[in-house]
């Protein structure tokens, strides 16, 4: 009887074609020697499989250098960039909110000032400045003397200045002590022109 060995190696690996496999089954049913060979090859298969299977797995490596190192470094860079971007964004947002709040506050102040001015204007219009008593400056008299062609009566000038200041002060207090009133005082102030008479 013919015995197989090479074909049995293929048989245990399930690498025989269908026809050869059927022939092998028929032969094995009759041949104890070939069954022993099959058992031997299957035993080796099992032993080698168990041998490598019982081997402890390799330890987890500490990846350093090469692409792994570059990748971890790239990851760190990416996170740093993202963190920086977030910080800058938060700072910008805080600055924007603060600016907006101060701008709104400034706007409110302008509106309040405008309304105050409107109120003052209306009060100012209702105030009759002419009602306030007013002194009239006296004309300066020409003084003639022997040694000077022209002389000014200093006492008269001083008195007129006092009158003018007194008028301004009364007007100021009579106009509710406001900027508008002061402005009006300035424009309407009675500046005395001292006309000097002479040659």
């Amino acid at each position: 009887m013919k015995h197989y060995d090479f074909e049995i190696s293929l048989f245990v690996d399930n690498e025989l074609d269908e026809e050869m496999q059927r022939e092998m089954f028929e032969h094995l049913a009759k041949c104890g020697e070939c069954r022993k060979t099959v058992q031997g090859f299957l035993g080796i298969k099992k032993e080698v499989n168990n041998y490598y299977g019982s081997m402890p797995a390799a330890p987890v490596p500490v990846l350093s250098g090469g692409a792994a190192h570059n990748n971890s470094r790239s990851t760190i860079y990416a996170f740093s960039a993202a963190a920086s971007l977030i910080i800058v964004s938060v700072l910008f947002l805080a600055y924007y909110i603060s600016s907006k709040a101060s701008y709104e506050n400034y706007e409110n102040k302008i509106v309040a000032l405008a309304s105050t001015n409107a109120v003052l204007n209306s009060k100012l219009k209702s105030t009759n400045v002419q009602e306030l008593p007013r002194q009239v400056a006296e004309p300066v008299k020409e003084v003639k003397s022997a040694g000077h062609s022209r002389r000014v009566n200093k006492k008269a000038i001083k008195k007129n200045e006092d009158i003018r200041n007194n008028n301004i002060e009364r007007k100021f207090t009579g106009s509710q002590n406001t900027n508008m009133a002061v402005r009006e005082q300035v424009t309407d102030a009675d500046y005395f022109t001292i006309k000097l008479t002479g040659n």
């Binding site: 090479f6 690498e15 031997g40 080796i44 298969k45 032993e47 390799a58 971890s72």
Partner: protein
Amino acid sequence: MKTILIHKQYRDIYKEYSADIFRYAFSLLKNREDAEDVMHEVFLKYMDNNQSYKQECSIKTWLLILTRNKCYNLLSQRKIRQSVDADDMEVAYRSDFDDKISLNEALLTLSPEENELLYLKEYGGFSYVEIGEITGLSLSNVKIKLFRTRNLLKKLLLEE
């Protein structure tokens, strides 16, 4: 974000194939430290230049081809066959065979090529075609060499 995804991909591949690569390297080198070195080098090479993977074979096959090349380079450079230490082969394993010699001793007597064929077929479960892709052997060569290796191992274990 892309970097994180790529990093996760490497980790997944390492998780899935590191044990197979380590054992395959060990089957060739018979030295644990060398096998670990080769495994790490293979993964670093994969991470450095995984563009060379052309998807003509599975990723596992491609990694094993890298492993094989590394191992044979190491074998030729260090002449590791002469410096095999039997202690490196000790694995916590007891054979069911009533062996004349231990499986460790028997595997030590085999060549790196015979060991890798045994590993790829008996443990790795690769088909003959896949083994041919990894080792560069023709299909008929794979069949014949595997058969001879099995016969040799059977004789060493059972018939000496």
